[in-house]
Homo-oligomer: 257 residues x 2
Amino acid sequence: MTKRILVTNDDGVLAPGLLALAIEMRNLGEVTILAPDRNWSGGGHVKTLDRALRVREFRLEDGSQAFASDGAPSDCVSLALLGYFKEKFDLVVSGINVGANLGHDVTYSGTVTAAMEAVIAGVPGVALSLEIPEGTIQPVDYTASAYAARIAVENVLAHGLPEETLLNVNIPFLKKEELKGFRVTRQGLRVYHSRLDERIDPRNRPYYWIGGDAPTGVPESGTDVGALSEGYISVSPLQLDLTAYRALSDVSTWEWK
Amino acid sequence: MTKRILVTNDDGVLAPGLLALAIEMRNLGEVTILAPDRNWSGGGHVKTLDRALRVREFRLEDGSQAFASDGAPSDCVSLALLGYFKEKFDLVVSGINVGANLGHDVTYSGTVTAAMEAVIAGVPGVALSLEIPEGTIQPVDYTASAYAARIAVENVLAHGLPEETLLNVNIPFLKKEELKGFRVTRQGLRVYHSRLDERIDPRNRPYYWIGGDAPTGVPESGTDVGALSEGYISVSPLQLDLTAYRALSDVSTWEWK
């Protein structure tokens, strides 16, 4: 039976990475596109309940039909899975994001939280992100990323995903023939280098940028950060249960009077 | 040495739950308040990088000095920990939220993601939420919640928190003398009952509400949902590592060609 695949992202409906993903996914099933009408990077796992959402139809560069909402990526997934379209979906894929989503990025990332939203609704979700060096001019070549997306999604369609689990796929900035292959990894450690920049506006009032250098990471073997640094595509299964199981017994011994 | 405690929330700086928490925390240390200037419920783990943030000074009902920013709860934590204030903080507490944050709520919740932001920055974080029945008129009595906050924070100050771990505390809607005590729990399962409501505006264009009934949960023993349903305060240690460790070996056997 034909698989029905929802494609979304957090860079916005007109991002070249979304089109590259949609085109690749058409080899695997019937594709519907519903994505934000603007960039939502760093926007987190949003559930918009205090305002209504709009949906507009777009044409992408290749003539593809696409829909865009004024909500977050996770709202787009909600709209699609709650019935904006008549069809039921077998899979939600999100990306291809401009920039890797590694380590602690995953709870900030609109790309990853879109896949979370799918999993919460009972539909497998796959997030795809391409590591892109700062200052790179768009559009980049998405050939390697589209290949990674196809392999990951073929696997998910063949094997399914465990309950409450999504796949977070990150692709290094390499040509397809330079890729060393895939690594199944755990979430590594991001190192943020944020700094507060205070500036003064023309009316003499201060304002504050969360500035500083781009985040780096600890390239430990076995982690998402490590895999990318070695030229591998990283595939991390992530779960929605955040319980710190190893801390449970210790915290239980505290004095809860 | 006096402990320095940052108090924030996601209901906004003027929420009564924030003031109740701040007053209680003054028994444990020196309190600074920096919270959003509006309600951010369901706003997710935000990192605002595409615009600058403003900070304004407020006076709370009891005369307390407070600061409010136009960023998300996690942005408020960033501002405070990156140096908006001269002092370093020993702890970030977030709440007391209007409404429980259980199960899958944790990645949507501004209350919980504020504590996440603290932990990412290396400072222990505690999120506090009060289960409030729909239709309850504010302000409610925060006595029981303030008591729960004090016990939880005393424990964190005494024992510390494991790395990459925050505490998610939920309080049932009971009088203090009706509380059965504390339970250290794992994250349970929320059941969302969302439904898409299509409406037509005066200009004949459709718009969409994410509607439906309020979420419920599976009141399984040992979980946050279960503890609240039995009249206990729930204390869940949550971690920032989302790796689905039990899925790693299975996913590794897939065909990664």
